[in-house]
Amino acid sequence: MSIATRPRNGLTLGMRLRSMSAQTAKYTSLIVASVVTLLPLTVVLFASLKSSTEYASTGPFTPPTNWFDFDNFVTAFTNGAMLEGFVNTAIVLAVSLVGTVFIGTMAAYALDRFAFRGKKLVMGLFLVATLIPSVTSQVATFQLINGLGLYDTKAALILLFMGTDVIALYLFIQFMQSIPISLDEAAMIDGANRWTIYWRVVLPLLKPAIATVIIIKGIAIYNEFYSAFLYLPSQGFISTSLFRFKGPYGAHWEIIAAGTIIVIIPTLIAFLFLQKWIYKGLTSGAVK
């Protein structure tokens, strides 16, 4: 200990003690935050693995007796029509993403690589559109969807998801600005027309931006509740399928818990595999 009292690396014992307690406080706060984050999810996982009698007789913190009792999951998945929800979500997701990527990259190509009359106006239209919170204009959007005869169809959701993604457009434009225009020129000299340049030169180079858009928009569509609730009432979407558990299973928390876990698992898997992309995409797209 006598060595420790001597100033080492410019630190006195007092300073080192203080930094040690600061370290303790830091890790304690991190652990507390992790517990607060994970506890609500853990108790739901516990509940989902209990039989209804076990659920009724034990407290929320009692772990399930059988960790491999997936009966509630089977009930939730089959009786809760979650398969329909997953299938519908997958269809809407795939079509909307393909549409968004093509519409967004084509518009970005036109806005970044061409000079034409009306360009400023178009940019302005896209810009102002981001200021309109879509949640407020649903009252009128609903009448439009209804008037087009698309109410209660998946097409309504697909069109809404494709038609309102200005953030994706800006990500594409931003990324396209970093692609040297000399590549376009070289292709042009080789005799390529504009479509060929877009399709063969620009689009392949946009892959990283496309991946980012697919990931953040994919998560947003998977989590979408409002549009599905409003425009697709008679078919299940993943959010609305789960929401319907509220009525019939109101007293069966173990079933609701299983349904909730089923919805969270794909998100968890996506997060574990795509972390880097998700962080990058959200930070570039979020601060409007």
Binding site: S29, L30, A33, S34, P40, V43, V44, P60, F61, I103, M106, A107, A110, R113, A115, F116, R117, L125, L127, A129, L131, I132, P133, S134, V135, T136, S137, V139, A140, Q143, L144, L160, M162, G163, V166, Y170, I173, D184, E185, A187, D190, G191, T196, Y198, I219, Y222, N223, F225, Y226, L242, A257, T260, V263, T267, L268, F271, I278, T283, V287, K288
Partner: protein, 326 residues
């Protein structure tokens, strides 16, 4: 590449070398000057060919509803009737004078207050994780993950947490609280419970934004401060906070419009019962349950205007912030 020449023979064959250069060099200025030959019209239409779908969908699904919203707000339309009677400003007068409508604005204040807590927590963890920390990726992942979870799933997780005799009550009983309140049943508490759920859900997003901003600050600044013997606390106020002030300010502005348009959590968890209804829930119910599309449109226009004003202030206060939204 060679075959493409035959796809649009008129377009490419008519091009001279100087034409090509002008098209590229002239970027940013007006190039599509009307020329005499047949390729000119096609050339001027090319950008519109790429833009058509995007602009079409934008006009149809954003601007057309927005215009209609304005129109409906001056009528007494019920959403079904063929005729819409103009009623002037009556709907707007109702929005501001009917206490049952205007009252729900105050519910936003709970969420607004909660967003301060949310930003404080996010800022704290972003700061400590920006210094060397064991398992920092793990902690970052845990803190961020709630933001990615489906809103309905979060609603159920917290309905389960708040139910009488549930998780929260059990934890409180360990600390000797024997008679916990009805978290979602008591009108004086329900908005705090829901706003707390919202903090749990959105803190991760603020945290990742702040962390990204802190990590983009130049490293030499910390090293210099370390050499000068500045404490972490001093480093925070002298380097970190000024460096990320704009992101914090922006999050604050977003918190205002966010707390005005709260919808999912109260709608899923309580359906707006016990005084937890928010302005958006009220608007949706007015339109689709009570079939007063005119009045609901006026409410939506009011919210829209407030959000636009807030955004305008944001642009004034943070003029450096790029307007290009990325």
């Amino acid at each position: 590449m060679q075959t493409s020449r035959t796809d649009h023979p008129t377009a490419t064959a008519a091009l001279t070398a100087s034409d090509r250069t002008r098209r590229f060099r002239g970027r940013g200025r007006g190039t599509g000057r009307p020329g005499g030959h047949s390729g000119s019209l096609l050339r001027r239409l090319t950008p519109w060919f790429f833009l058509a779908t995007g602009v079409g969908l934008l006009l149809l699904f954003t601007y057309w509803p927005a215009l209609n919203l304005g129109y409906y707000s001056f009528t007494d339309w019920d959403g079904i009737d063929q005729t819409k009677n103009l009623v002037g400003l009556q709907n707007y007068i109702d929005v501001f004078t009917d206490p049952s409508i205007f009252r729900v604005f105050f519910v936003s204040l709970y969420y607004f207050a909660a967003s301060f807590l949310q930003m404080a927590i996010a800022l704290y963890f972003a700061t400590i994780l920006s210094f060397r920390t064991r398992f920092s990726n793990l902690f970052r992942g845990i803190l961020f993950f709630p933001y990615l979870i489906n809103g309905v799933a979060i609603g159920f997780v917290f309905l389960y947490l708040f139910q009488p005799g549930g998780t929260l009550d059990t934890v409180l009983s360990w600390f000797g609280v024997g008679d916990p309140p009805q978290w979602l049943g008591d009108p004086s508490l329900v908005n705090w419970s829901l706003a707390g759920t919202s903090v749990w859900r959105y803190t991760g997003m603020n945290f990742v934004l702040f962390l990204g901003a802190i990590q983009s600050l130049p490293h030499e600044l910390y090293e210099a401060a370390d050499l000068d013997g500045a404490s972490r606390w001093q480093q925070f106020w002298a380097i970190i906070f000024p460096g990320i002030r704009r992101v914090v300010g922006l999050s604050f502005i977003l918190a205002i419009s966010g707390s005005l348009s709260v919808f999912e959590i109260p709608f899923i968890m309580t359906g707006g019962a016990n005084g937890s209804s928010t302005f958006v829930i009220e608007t949706i119910q007015t339109a689709f349950t009570f079939r007063q599309v005119g009045l609901a449109s006026a409410m939506a226009v009011v919210l829209l205007l407030i959000v636009l004003i807030v955004t305008w202030i944001q642009r004034k206060v943070f003029p450096d912030e790029k307007v290009d939204l990325t």
